[in-house]
Symmetry: C2
Subunit: 456 residues, 2 copies
């Protein structure tokens, strides 16, 4: 063995030793969370004592207080509130009645206004229903077929896509953009088939955007079963009608906050590793998977580091973002502050895809960094985390991403998310304790690695 | 390019072409099941119209009829019943009352007798409770500390194990063997902490064995919350007492059946690829995950091949086994028949780990065969199936395995199974339609490959 070989062998051994230490730390992190984790009980409190918490609502304000205390309890060395001005939309009272058969009268069906939609000022808006299944079909309608009609956008969630987030990407624009297109052509209102993998009748809310140039019109979602019935009636040539009544309205802007907790790094305190989720939710259900899960998992990362006595070399910051659902103002405010304070984020990791068993970690960053994280794949594999190929981050960290910050997103099993997302069924009982904790394990493990090794 | 290189290139191209065809067929199988699959509706009928179906019960007999019809409807070319004589155990009436505080009286708590356990002939069995947490602790007890006492086996499910089936393997013996050990030392009865990952109070039944040399004693399971309370009382030094009352008894043997459906292979009809689950369940809940899921997925494999017009080169046989839970008689009867008829099974695949999102396929077979299947891993990856390293089959196919038949087991996500397993909560509502179907996709894909290529 010559000197170079000896050096190589020593390097090899040192690297193996480091890997073995990381593997031991991964196990300690996992044991700590699976045996003594508090994220599930935290989620119970958030869901059951506060409940849903749309931006600007009194519940959202209570959630901010809760988040502050929870981060303190977890052992964050510094916890603070970062002001965010958020849109304050209220659903008010709302109903949809359909006449699916001229022989019968109108019947009330389950519905939810889309978020940020206008209402009818409480008056009854009655109109004939015209169905389209695609944007092309809508464009092919003559103006007189759209004007004053209620457009039923009957686009189905593509169930054949194994990654339901791809399906959401494909079907989602019918919710985000469809109402605006109909408004631009003077339709009276819009009913959409919910963006839903569910085989039930739960309506799914979610945000829409009106362009400044159009006069907003009411836009509501119905569940898949009601949509099936409406579709069947229209296909039979029945002249179906709808009566929409809603007091939904935008109240203006309210002061709210991102909640931030931090453990200062011992060697490179200026390098920040961010882990987060969003604290606001839609105003139905309990925002359990979306995104109570991401919040309590982020808090668990802080708690775990403290509980294990890990002093991270780099700063770890847990951020509970406000207003992901209908404005993303929290994400922008955080980024603005980071710019103003010249903060250096070396990685931002978000969990906002549900509290389901983790399968992977998305990596949206330059190739060498992605490959560096991928080189630890074997350490994650015993924890069921195998997929490091997706280039996903999260909505709240997308403003950071656009400035070049490497971002990352927890990838849980996606099969159930769009059954529950934005519905009254997104409640604590639909979250499994072990799945939720295992997601926190993967997040804490990644945060540990990056605080330890950096991400050059 | 010389001749050899040319030959190599042609072989390469042919192989790529085959892989690409397989990839197309994988997609067709997936689309067929995700868009038009019937397994979820089949499971609804099995769970809601028949319900739980312990071996020997009238419901099990109805399940046999249902299975026969379902396999016919799926398009099996031949469907038959294979006689199996099964133990017929009945739970009868049962209750457990605990006195956790001498100041208070006895209170009734949720409980389930373990399967195959004896009862008290309806009389009250009252006794002092002695707690042990491990076999070693039990062995260390003096004989007079065991005799006539009710032994509380308080062994916790190891929540830190990520693969809960490993946890079940570690904790399960306390249920299977614990009561027999206590009976051998003249205890009066046994109470076990359920083999459960649940953080609720659901008791989990499951089978036990008494040796022929011991006089059987009653053995019951309590949920984790009751077990926590009992543990706390005993740790405080309280002289806790139990009153067990049960009419559980073994009635003898009943005639039942495995249900088998088949599509004959076009080129190698004598080579059988088996896919199966078990039709019986415990007598609580609806046997939805355990193992209604495996049954309807196996039926879905047959339906999918027919619906896609695939004529398999080798014979595909779906088997709904009877009596996995408390005797495995169906598995033995099937194997005996296979031996008697000199049948050649080239692969047996079982789904008996729940209708959750698939993560892998266990391969218990000789290395070259395992490596052959592993060589298709990349085809499965887009469907979330990545783990081909575990050497798992299934209980019903274990008699085949012992004769050298290559066996395989679907590996779904394991986080939720032992919350529900053998409890009243294992009901249809706890199965997600997409997860169930995705499991069937992986099974149909593997079956397709092996019918196409064999498994030498």
């Amino acid at each position: 063995m010559n000197c170079r070989h000896l050096l190589l062998a020593v390097c090899c051994l040192l690297s193996l030793e480091a890997q073995s230490q990381d593997s031991v730390m991964f196990r300690r992190i996992s044991d700590e969370i699976m045996l003594r984790g508090t994220c599930y009980e935290n989620l119970r409190v958030l869901c059951k004592q506060i409940g849903h918490r749309l931006s600007g609502s009194p519940a959202a304000a209570r959630a901010v207080d809760w988040g502050f205390d929870a981060l303190k309890d977890a052992g964050a060395e510094k916890v603070w509130l970062q002001p965010v001005d958020v849109p304050h939309w209220v659903r008010g009272k709302e109903s949809l009645k359909l006449r699916l058969d001229p022989k019968n009268g109108f019947e009330e069906v389950p519905m939810l206004s889309l978020g940020n939609a206008v209402g009818t000022d409480g008056k009854v808006l009655e109109g004939d229903i015209v169905m389209v299944t695609t944007f092309d079909e809508f464009k092919a309608l003559k103006d007189e077929e759209v004007r004053d009609r209620i457009i039923f956008i009957n686009h189905r969630f593509p169930q054949e896509m194994i990654n339901t987030f791809e399906g959401y990407g494909a079907a989602g624009p019918y919710r985000w953009m469809g109402p605006n297109m109909a408004a631009g052509r003077k339709a009276a209102g819009v009913i959409i088939r919910s963006i839903s993998t569910g085989i039930d009748d739960a309506p799914h809310t979610g945000s829409l955007r009106y362009a400044d140039t159009v006069k907003p019109i009411p836009a509501i979602a119905i569940g898949n079963m009601t949509a099936d019935r409406l579709e069947a009636a229209l296909k039979k040539g029945i002249a179906a009608k709808a009566r929409i009544q809603s007091t939904a309205r935008m109240l203006g802007t309210a002061r709210s906050y991102n909640v931030i907790g931090e453990i200062k790094g011992t060697e490179y305190p200026d390098q920040i590793v961010l882990v987060g989720g969003h604290l606001d939710s839609w105003d139905v259900g309990e925002g359990a998977h979306d995104d109570g899960a991401g919040c309590v998992q982020s808090i668990e990362v802080i708690r775990t580091l403290k509980a294990l006595g890990i002093r991270p070399k780099r700063t770890v910051r847990a951020v509970l973002f406000m207003n992901e659902e209908n404005g993303l103002r929290g994400g922008y405010a955080y980024n603005d502050s980071a710019v103003a304070n010249n903060e250096k984020h070396i990685l931002a990791l978000e969990s906002d895809a549900g509290g389901f068993s983790p399968r992977g970690i998305g990596l949206a960053m330059e190739r060498p960094r992605r490959e560096f994280i991928q080189s630890f794949r074997h350490l994650f594999l015993p924890y069921g985390v195998y997929d490091f190929e997706q280039e996903e981050g999260g909505a709240d960290i997308s403003p950071l991403q656009r400035r070049g910050v490497p971002v990352s997103g927890l990838i849980p099993d996606p099969q159930r998310y769009f059954d529950l997302h934005h519905t009254p069924n997104d409640v604590f009982e639909r979250v499994n304790h072990r799945e939720l904790k295992l997601g926190a394990v993967a997040m804490a493990q990644l945060v540990y690695l990056i605080t330890q090794y950096g991400l050059k």
